[in-house]
Symmetry: C2
Subunit: 278 residues, 2 copies
């Protein structure tokens, strides 16, 4: 509300449990149906006006296309500093989070007078055009455990959510480059994703989300040997684990990973969604 | 996610700055356009299964029609305990907050498997049927500084929001019974509310929200002498205050009330929206 030299925003991490692929000529219409969960761990993005635009993560210069596209769309030159405790490229939706955080913080520091839906649209478009995500941004803007009932940005898509609170555990084995199956057989993904969404909407609870996510992971052939081993151990222990789409990351509700003997990253369901920081 | 004997939810208080009135035969289509702000102060609602339904606020038995209607709609018998630091009947949207909080907590403790949009719809319908509000519930489900672009529950209405964080100050002079003008001349309210919304959408910022709210308050003739005196004092001090619709409550951004010599309730913009508590 006052003149500032920098503004900051927080955007939760987002783990996609299952998804479908919808691409059209319009990036705002493009997106995905599916469901996921947002985390109290995420990205904090600081935007500062500057003449020479830069982007850095935890102090290291990086090139993040979704962020540069947001700055271009808003027609501003800025230094963007991101801080995060989550690993890149591991299925936590960080590129979407950085895009949305940049949009929110830039709107404030440059006094651009855009609404939340407009900023979410700009970040969604940037993500889709950069080719780094289809459904993270709208989910991250909402928070909680979002269901993407219809694909696309705010003016096209439709969101709902599973009311849930509590602990989330994650275990990351490393980066996963976008598998060929996504490019070559999006129809297979979309078929499995639609089945999972149908199952979730029959009984929209956190437990059903885990089961539907696991069935999706098993059926699309993206499970790596390391992840499969965790699945089996957690199963034997009476829990349910699934895989973050797309990263070599396993996630579970409550203590299903630590209870099976693992030493996971401990987080929780986020309740804020992307938000400006004071 | 586990069997519980009680569940709790938090719902932010909501101050409406300006509004329009839309009533149809369908409570879910009924609602209001307008804008407001949600507060980090609000209601905490605990729901516990019981054979003899009761509702109490801060330990005192009360009869809150919106809450009873939510329990009826969900077909459950429960003891509902509400805690709040905000005064009733003063324009903080507490009946809407209690309705939504009851829906969220009851869904959890009775394992009803409803989605967030479904629970918001149930609470919105209860509020409209009880005659205690038209736009609080959808705003409280979203959090932040919500704009009700189109009226109605989740399946009919459309929301946007002003991205903003920070301190809010409020000063309450007491309860205000629903003024005759609302019943007798809803068209006048709706005309002034539409003008205010148009002004806000031209430049959707927190400052414009305050100016549009103040113009609305002045033009619909609801300002009481006590409130008018505060308006003038804050004006003279270079700030902007407006009136909570509908309560004898003044609100302002930042330190506009304390800076003018008042001793206000200090709160902040809520970023969570209605949410289940662990």
């Amino acid at each position: 509300m006052a003149d500032r030299t920098a503004s900051s925003a927080f955007v939760p991490g987002h783990i996609t449990g299952f998804f479908t692929v919808h691409r059209t000529d319009d990036p705002l219409e493009s997106g995905s149906r599916g469901a996921g969960l947002t985390l109290t761990d995420g990205v904090t993005v600081e935007v500062r006006p500057t003449e020479e635009p830069t982007v850095e993560i935890d102090g290291e210069p990086v090139d993040i296309e979704s962020v540069t596209r947001v700055l271009d769309a808003l027609d501003v030159d800025a230094a963007v500093s991101v801080e995060t405790d989550l690993p890149l490229g591991s299925g936590f939706g960080l590129s979407g989070g950085m895009a949305l955080g940049t949009a929110l913080a830039a709107n404030e520091v440059f006094d651009l007078a855009r609404t939340e839906n407009e900023l979410t649209s700009i970040a969604h478009r940037a993500e889709v055009e950069a080719g780094t995500g289809l459904g993270d941004v709208v989910a991250q803007a909402r928070g909680g455990m979002p269901i993407r009932v219809e694909p696309g940005g705010p003016s096209f898509g439709e969101l709902d959510g599973i009311p849930v609170a509590g602990r989330i555990e994650c275990l990351t084995f490393g980066e996963l480059s976008t598998p060929d199956i996504l490019q070559e057989r999006p129809g297979l993904i979309t078929e499995a994703g639609s089945t999972a969404l149908e199952s979730l909407l029959e009984r929209p609870t956190a437990d059903r989300f885990m089961v539907a996510s696991r069935e999706f992971a098993d059926s699309v052939g993206l499970v790596t040997p390391a992840i499969d081993e965790v699945f089996e151990t957690v199963d034997e222990n009476g829990g349910t684990a699934s895989m973050a789409m797309l990263g070599e990351t396993v996630f579970a509700l409550g203590t299903d990973l630590s209870g099976a003997g693992y030493d996971p990253l401990v987080s929780a369901i986020d309740v804020t969604g992307g938000t400006l920081l004071e």
